[in-house]
Amino acid sequence: MSAETNTATVEAAHACWSCGDMRAAHLCTSCGKVQPPTPVDYFTFFRLPRKLNLDTAALEREFYALSRKLHPDVYADRDSQEQEWSLEQSSRLNDAYRTLKDPIRRTEYLLKLEGVELEGQSKAATEEARKTGEKKQIVPPDLLEEVFELNMQLEELRASKKLGEEDSALVQELQTHKQSLGAKFSTLFNELKDYWSEWDSAEESDSEQERRRVRDRMVDLLNRRSYIGNLVRDVNEALGS
């Protein structure tokens, strides 16, 4: 039993406080008791390899199974120490599940584990960055022309709105921009999926060079994606929809 768990690399090798046998990061694999929290990453928490292609249906099943064992409701009549661990472990479980089930969050999280800090994506943060001149979002080169034109049109629309006019031709053009940006946005997602597979094989072959290459590609893609996302938001706001 313990020999088996020892060979699993993702298993944290500690003894269970209750039965002394080996345990996983959250529950004793032997007696099922909740364990004091250890700082493991979300993949390890679910006993998953650090890969990006993920069976979300299986993840959901595991989430439900672990919820039944870790949720504070199950510990309502236990001592306060176990209740506290259950609270921390089930919050870890929920945080991990929320992050891993969403493809974008999962990718961002993995990149963060790899030491990459992505830029803040809230509108306010972007504007604050613009104002202070720090961490300016770099316009992706292939979008330069379109962004320039779009910003002009947005300015025009805001100006005409202030005068209480409605330039229908302008609105039409902005709608077209919005659609084309939306299409780019979804294309990027498909591209990202290709990188996932590349990452996973790099992970399997344990090639540091390849890992770094795919990582940089994904960072670039996610930055472009958030940039486009912000543009769509600006257009929506200007159109008042």
Partner: protein, 633 residues
């Protein structure tokens, strides 16, 4: 059966209820007036005694300055939040209220905070349950609107503590309703709960999967409900009276409350009748009379009901579902009895809503189910698990007055987020953190939850300390914060200053005031009630001895009954209610066969064509021989 029962409580804006799990079925515990609903009305009588529920309602009209209703609207709120409410509700604030202080409401000459007033209601429910069980009740699950923020939840928990109840869990009202629904219909699928109550509106979308109730998204408005409909109708009536009769009665509390009573009756009537009449007597022999048709009523309230549409759409969007994917829409809350509300729901979700459940009771029943789950459950509930979400995003204020969201709305709770802070000046030993709740980008537009001071940071060059702060939202939706300075390994101190709400010490002092006497009250009440019950049973036994059934009993059994009778007569004189109860139970057991025989005799007598009176039962068989209680199974 364990002595300690956990009850489920629906602490509503208009009505409150207490329920528990009887075997496999949740049931509502009635008050001593026999009614399930306890109106959430609190009054101070002429002797300064607190009156709660139906008995308090008459004070609303007779001495409105000594009564309060809809206190839930003020829970966890600050004075700047409630100006709108004050125009519409006769809340009388204490004159000496300081800025930043928890609100205090005047009842007669006394003042109480909203959690204290809620605690009076909770204490009444607690007593109702204690009378029902014949044992103290100290633990409860209490429901709150799903869209309640941290301060409103904390205030509810405080109210529980003040009432002498350990609040084991706060459960969101629509989620509680889904538990009661799910217990009934064991099906997998996506369900929406549309909960329009007296003062709050919630919409929750849940995924039911093998007895796991997973909330996908929730939304709502904590100030939207039947109260708003009433207030609209009252305003119209007051305008009419001023315009048509030239009478300004807006400041006349008694008249306003009489009008309120009248419009509520009309509102209820209009759910089944095509028209209703308002008829109110006014000072100076004048009368206000008006007929309102259902069509007029529906047109009037439509703008209020339309305010439920945007939250529903947002919840569906957040859950990532379309109306077609929703299997059922469950209606909860008294206001969903209004036909036009049902029509609106049908239109929005494109299906006929589920109306089988009693919209007034389903939340309390669900709370009882959750209470049962927490106590370990039984075959029917042990696999049930609730996974709820936080309704609002949690954020911290960063440079430029911007909110940095660290836990997004609709995250499953418990949920956590760890943030790192550092210093900006050399030798800085404090860092201030401002915690917010809400969806807006700017801190000033969000709800301020608390300001924390991280203290005791070892003096270091700017930017060197690394303080790790952990924010954790527990299963009740309440925030906890802890901090650590990582370089020195020192636990950083946190001084919490909740923006709204009572401090622990304040709550503690409120408990002591009401709790001491409550314990004594409980004992005395129990003794009186046990004695009354003993009287009833003894006099019933006296009567039974005259029935033919008595003669049919074997001699030994008659002797045994006489012994038990004597024992009860003796302990009845003492002050130990538990002894009296024990003795009552023993006599109940001992006279079971007698009761059965009497029932048989009654039936036989009836079959012979005699009436019950002629059979000299003293009691009809339906009421049963009081000795034979339904407890035996």
């Amino acid at each position: 059966m364990s002595n300690q029962r956990i009850v489920g409580i629906d602490l509503g804006t208009t009505n409150s209820l207490v329920a528990f799990m009887q075997g496999d079925v949740p049931v509502v515990i009635p008050g001593d007036d026999g009614l399930n609903l306890v109106p959430s009305v609190v009054a101070l009588d002429e002797n300064d005694q607190i009156i709660v529920g139906n008995a308090a309602r008459k004070y609303l009209i007779e001495t409105p300055e000594r009564a309060v209703y809809s206190i839930k609207r003020l829970m966890g709120r600050g004075i700047e939040d409630i100006w709108e409410e004050l125009k519409l509700f006769p809340f009388r604030l204490a004159e000496d209220l300081q800025p930043g202080e928890v609100l205090r409401i005047k009842l007669g000459d006394k003042t109480f905070t909203p959690p204290e007033i809620s605690a009076f209601i909770l204490r009444q429910l607690k007593r109702n349950a204690e009378r029902f069980f014949g044992a103290p009740v100290t633990q409860a699950v209490i429901t709150v609107p799903a869209y309640f923020n941290d301060a409103q939840r904390q205030a509810t928990k405080d109210a529980g503590r003040i009432a002498g109840l350990e609040v084991l869990r706060l459960v969101n009202e629509p989620t509680a309703a889904s538990l009661a629904y799910g217990l009934d219909q064991k099906q997998n699928g996506i369900v929406a709960v549309y909960d329009l109550g007296g003062g709050t509106f919630d919409i929750s979308i849940l995924k039911l999967h093998d007895e796991i109730f997973e909330v996908m998204a929730t939304n709502g408005d904590t100030h939207l409900g039947g109260d708003d409909i009433d207030n609209l109708l009252i305003t119209i009536a007051l305008d009419d009276i001023l315009g048509d009769l030239g009478l300004d009665v807006r400041r006349n509390g008694e008249i306003v409350q009489t009008i309120r009573k009248s419009v509520i009756e009309a509102k209820i009537a209009l759910s089944s009748e095509p028209a209703a009449k308002l008829d109110v007597e006014l000072p100076g022999g004048k009368r206000y009379q008006r007929e309102i048709t259902r069509q007029q009523f529906e047109d009037l309230i439509r703008p209020i009901l339309d305010r439920t549409i945007a939250p529903c759409k947002q919840a569906m969007k957040d859950a990532g579902v379309t109306p077609e994917q929703i299997e059922e829409v469950v209606l909860v809350g008294g206001s969903t009895r209004i036909p036009t509300v049902r029509a609106l729901v049908k239109e929005m979700f494109r299906r006929e809503p589920h109306t089988d459940l009693n919209p007034d009771e389903v939340v309390a029943l669900g709370a009882a189910v959750q209470a049962h789950i927490l106590s370990g459950g039984s075959d029917v509930t042990q696999n049930m698990l609730l996974l709820d979400v936080t309704p609002l995003s949690l954020g911290i204020e960063v440079a430029g007055g911007v909110t940095d969201k660290i836990i997004l709305r609709n995250s499953t709770v418990p949920a956590s987020s760890t943030q790192h802070y550092t210093t900006q000046v050399d030798g800085q030993v404090n860092v201030a953190v401002h915690v917010l709740q809400g969806e807006r980008e700017l801190a000033k537009d969000c709800r301020s939850l608390a300001r924390f001071d991280l203290k005791g940071i070892p003096p270091m060059p700017a930017g060197l300390p690394r303080i790790e702060v952990k924010f954790l939202i527990d299963a009740n939706g309440i925030l906890h914060v802890s901090a650590r300075e990582q370089r020195s390994g020192k636990e950083a101190e946190i001084e919490v200053q909740p923006s709204y709400g009572l401090t622990d010490e304040q709550v503690e002092s409120m408990i002591l005031e009401s709790f001491d006497s409550a314990e004594e009250d409980f004992r005395q009440r129990q003794v009186i009630e046990a004695r009354n019950e003993a009287e009833t049973i003894l006099s019933a036994l006296e009567k039974s001895k005259k029935s033919p059934a008595w003669g049919q009993l074997p001699n030994g059994e008659r002797k045994q009954i006489a012994k038990l009778e004597k024992a009860l007569q003796e302990v009845k004189q003492q002050d130990d209610y538990q002894k009296i109860r024990k003795s009552i139970d023993a006599l109940n057991q001992g006279t079971m066969r007698l009761a059965e025989l009497m029932m048989d005799t009654a039936v036989t007598t009836a079959l012979k064509g005699k009436t019950m009176e002629q059979a000299d039962m003293g009691e009809s068989p339906e009421t049963g021989h009081p000795v034979a209680k339904a407890d035996f199974e």
